[in-house]
């Protein structure tokens, strides 16, 4: 299968309905060949990802930094512990731009840190950048261990 025909699989986990809608709209307007799956809670997300029946994992997961989990203590940590999910990029987005938060999120295993923009056009631009660079890592066999991108 050639690159341009291969679909990008994306998951978004965000408990805010408005944010999910905005995200979906931004992704749609980018006009890329994308499959978007959304989750409202961290528990639903992790139940899905940890399901052994799932064959097609997302290329990238967008996760709200403050995503609420009951069953699991810390979404990011739980995901990074699983060998099966090693190749999946994790993009954390947050309203915080504090260097300390960015730092800790990366050390916790995120690949991408997005400071949530208020402007829709800026969000689109950021998402385009993120998806582009993630696609390069995915299709060119680059090491995910040192894949860090902050925008």
């Amino acid at each position: 299968m050639s690159e341009e025909e291969e679909k990008m699989n994306i998951i978004l986990a965000d408990d805010d309905e408005d944010d999910r809608d905005v995200f979906r709209q931004a992704i749609e307007e980018l006009g890329l060949n994308v499959n978007l799956l959304t989750f409202e809670t961290g528990d639903d997300l992790l139940d899905y990802l940890f399901d052994p029946e799932i064959i097609e994992l997302p290329h990238i997961l967008f996760l709200d930094l403050n995503m609420f989990c009951v069953k699991y203590e810390n979404c990011l940590n739980e995901i990074r512990k699983r060998e099966k999910l090693r190749d999946m990029s994790i993009a954390i987005y947050s309203t915080s731009t504090a260097e300390k938060d960015i730092h800790e999120t990366f050390i916790g295993g995120a690949n991408i840190y997005i400071s949530k923009p208020n402007d829709f056009q800026v969000l689109k631009k950021s998402l385009r950048e993120v998806l582009k660079i993630n696609w390069q890592f995915h299709t060119s066999g680059l090491s995910k261990d040192t894949f860090l991108f902050s925008i």
Binding site: S2, E4, H103, I107, Q136, S140
Partner: protein, 184 residues
């Protein structure tokens, strides 16, 4: 004199494909829907020949040759950046020579099929190498020499633009991750 014919386009097509593939000695399987599974790697020459032969019958090989070409471009770039020291010649000239193709053709094709321009791809690969060297404790001065950056500032700037992080912050994060793995 007029003759009347009746034909089955599927049979015609399959026969042409079969004959052309056999002519080049390519082993293949064809299923009912006309999908062809080639049982070996076709050389680039054979591929171009096959494409040209089929073209006469109005048959096109879909994108596959292009994806192969993209892969070759990527390989040349990776090979170039994987060396101990990058070649001093201009990258566009180097690529055109290695691929034996016009650079603007290569560059257009690349942008069309990969979500990235060739220039951005090269920068990305160079920064990937810079990361490796950084983690091997090389200094930014040494790294900019190896990767042909005119100055440390140029390297740092491109690093920051590509990753959103400065080289020193990047290194701190990776070191922080290692410590975390050791202590948990």
């Amino acid at each position: 004199m007029k003759i009347y014919i009746k034909y089955d386009i599927n049979v015609a097509c399959r026969t042409i494909l079969q004959e052309q593939l056999e002519k080049l000695g390519i082993h293949f399987d064809m299923n009912e829907s006309g999908e062809i599974q080639v049982l070996e790697v076709i050389s680039l020459e054979d591929n171009i020949q096959l494409q040209a032969n089929l073209k006469r019958y109005g048959i096109d090989i879909l994108s596959d040759q292009k994806s192969q070409l993209i892969q070759r471009i990527k390989n040349v770039i990776m090979d170039m950046i994987g060396r101990e020291k990058l070649p001093a010649s201009k990258i566009s000239l180097y690529l055109a020579e290695k691929m034996n193709m016009n650079y603007s053709y290569i560059s257009t094709l690349f942008s069309e099929y990969t979500h990235s321009s060739i220039e951005n791809y090269i920068i990305l690969q160079k920064i990937e190498k810079a990361k490796k060297l950084l983690l091997q404790e090389l200094s930014l001065t040494e790294i900019s020499y190896i990767l042909n950056y005119s100055s440390v500032a140029h390297l740092s700037g491109q690093f920051k633009k590509t990753t959103g992080l400065s080289p020193s912050v990047f290194k701190k994060i990776i070191d922080g991750r290692k410590r975390k793995i050791y202590t948990t």
